[in-house]
């Protein structure tokens, strides 16, 4: 059953950047885009289980640090190979300076 979890403070993440967020056995990324919107996706690349939190955020996309697959953080859609599978995305909301994610 999905629940809203307090993941981080809004200013824990710079604009166009990412942090890793672990919850129980699961790992996610929280991304802040160029327009200060926040997104949450699975934390591991669908190609080879690399942590995306070391990747590069450009606008609302994240590029995997290993082989450069690019994912749209809004939809999880993979835009460039070698990854071929989309990421799961999770809803986010900002309340009182905190980023909450529904996982």
């Amino acid at each position: 059953m999905a629940q809203w979890i307090d993941a981080c403070a809004t200013d824990d993440i710079e604009a166009e950047d990412v942090i890793r967020f672990d919850h129980g056995p699961r790992t996610f990324i929280i991304v802040r885009d160029h327009a200060d919107s926040y997104y949450c996706t699975d934390g591991l690349c669908t190609h080879e289980n690399i942590h995306l939190s070391e990747g590069l955020v450009v606008e609302a996309t994240i590029e995997c640090p290993k082989h450069s697959s690019i994912f749209d953080c809004r939809t999880g859609e993979v835009e460039t190979p070698p990854a071929c599978e989309n990421l799961h995305t999770y809803r986010t909301k900002v309340e009182n300076g905190r980023v909450l994610v529904e996982v």
Partner: protein
Amino acid sequence: MHMRDYDLLEGDGPRAIAHGLVTEGWYRTPIPRAQMKALMQRADQPAIRDTLLLFGLMIAFAAAAVALMPSWWSAPFWLAYGVLYGSAMDSRWHECGHGTAFKTRWMNKFVYQIACFCMLRDPSCWKFSHARHHSDTVIVGRDPEVAIMRPVVALKVASNLVGVPDVVDGLRRLVAHASGRILPDEATYVEPVFHATVIRTARVWLAVYVAAIALAVATRSWIPVLLIGLPRLYGCWHMVICGWLQHGGLADNVLDHRLNSRTVYMNPVSRFIYWNMNYHVEHHMFPLVPYYRLPALHELCRADFPAPSGSMGEALAEMLPVLWRQRTNPDFHLRRPLPPTANPYQDGPEPSPAA
């Protein structure tokens, strides 16, 4: 002595998996996120400048060579054109394949397609092949891009200076793809969704090569094939030497790129041709850093890396005697000392014997 089987289908792959060498982990020099983020930033300007210069030089050298034919005075211009076609296009294939050269994505894709054609490398197959090379760098039975296999067969290695084994293999794959087949080793790393694209691309390329040969025959002139196709043979020597230096004589079956890759200081001409891939340890450790920021990354990593080779000559002098010994002793390799400031080497689960 450990005999190596590099075959991707029936070689040492399962052994590498059993020994924990096929893993998501790789050693990275600790660099603060803010600095890493700055280093990963893309810009169009350096790559546009270099690409205009490259294509401009290719046109100028080719025009001079054609104008001077059939005189031998055309030879230096053919050689210069050939190096840009057969060697500089390799580094463009590489950097644009990573998507790191340009900030604008279509520019990477555009140059990547041209470079793949020049290098006789299918764009999809080599995208996946190179991803595997980064995952399993010089892991025997897993890495499809090992330039020098052990035990070293000197004649085979040397014949690559004129591109023979690579081009024979490239043509074999091209014909197979054009006839609608994906080869079994490629099927281990190319996603099925890309197979149709591979076949379509091969048919277009084959038509271009056949047209160039037909034009050469019809006009009784070497010019069409000296412009298209043959430069992959007569101009690849620079790419091959740089390729040897990337990993030659160093450890295999390890998970720390400081052990299996080499950084070499190079002259500015070679660095232009090679697009700064002489910073090879840095590139493997942090593949998202574009070529024009590798010198800055190198400065940040120096204290954690073995000393770079001072020149191509120095690197060759270090590597060639090791290759010579690897003809009869495939386990022999270099293990370069780390500075006292460095983190210790992380060989991986199965340290290979040091020289």
